[in-house]
Amino acid sequence: MASIEVGGKSYETDEEGYLVNLADWNKEVGEYLAQTESVELTEQHWEVINFLREYFEEYQIAPAVRVLTKAIGKKLGPEKGNSEYLYGLFPYGPGKQACKIAGLPKPTGCV
């Protein structure tokens, strides 16, 4: 099992770098994971990350990109609920990459 080290603490990850325990996540871990993905986190990124964590908290799954896009549009407005905006923030995919930074598992059905 792989692991990452943040602030002197070790956290378990899977072979693709996703956190094994959702409860391990905190802002610092999120920032570290973003660095490994070469994503510089802005307020707009955090908006999506926090949204994902709330979604997971409520439904116990990471949403499919299509579902995330629609839900973001509903909550944060249509200018943010579209794939151009979300892929602009997370070039490797708002599903895969944003979920990883948010400490969530890979979305179901995502290869």
Binding site: E58, Y59, Q60, I61, P63, A64, R66, V67, K70, A71, T108, G109
Partner: protein, 123 residues
């Protein structure tokens, strides 16, 4: 997408959650197939109605509680959930015991609905 490519898919859920893996497997397949824009219905029959029982607390058995995920189905455009009335009654349950909005059908109506499907997947 043209109508010609849309088929009627029905997932028939007949197993209680946790005791076997069927309920969770079915739910995962439903979430994945939701991406294909088909006409999807979920049916809960027999012990399958227990999947939708409110108030599941799985801490004591150390298995993930996947019941909140049924409430995510609406966001996946899976909105046709049917529960057989006779199955609910045999378990001392009512519609108020369920954690999502469903349509309750008698067995005759359920049978007719099944007959209309192009594909039926049983779990």
């Amino acid at each position: 997408m043209s109508d010609a490519t849309v088929k009627k898919f029905m997932f028939v859920n007949r197993k209680a959650p946790y005791g076997t893996i069927y309920a969770l497997e079915s739910l995962e397949v439903v979430l994945i197939t939701a991406a294909f824009d088909q006409d999807v219905s979920l049916v809960f029959l027999d012990d399958g109605v227990y999947q939708l029982k409110k108030g599941q607390q799985t801490k004591g058995i150390e298995i993930k509680n996947f019941s909140p995920t049924y409430r995510a189905l609406e966001g996946y455009d899976v909105e046709k959930l049917y529960v057989e009335r006779e199955s609910l009654e045999a378990r001392g349950l009512t519609e108020e015991d369920l954690l999502v909005d469903v349509v309750v059908l008698g067995r005759a109506e359920m049978g007719a609905l099944m007959d209309e499907q192009d594909v039926v997947l049983s779990f």
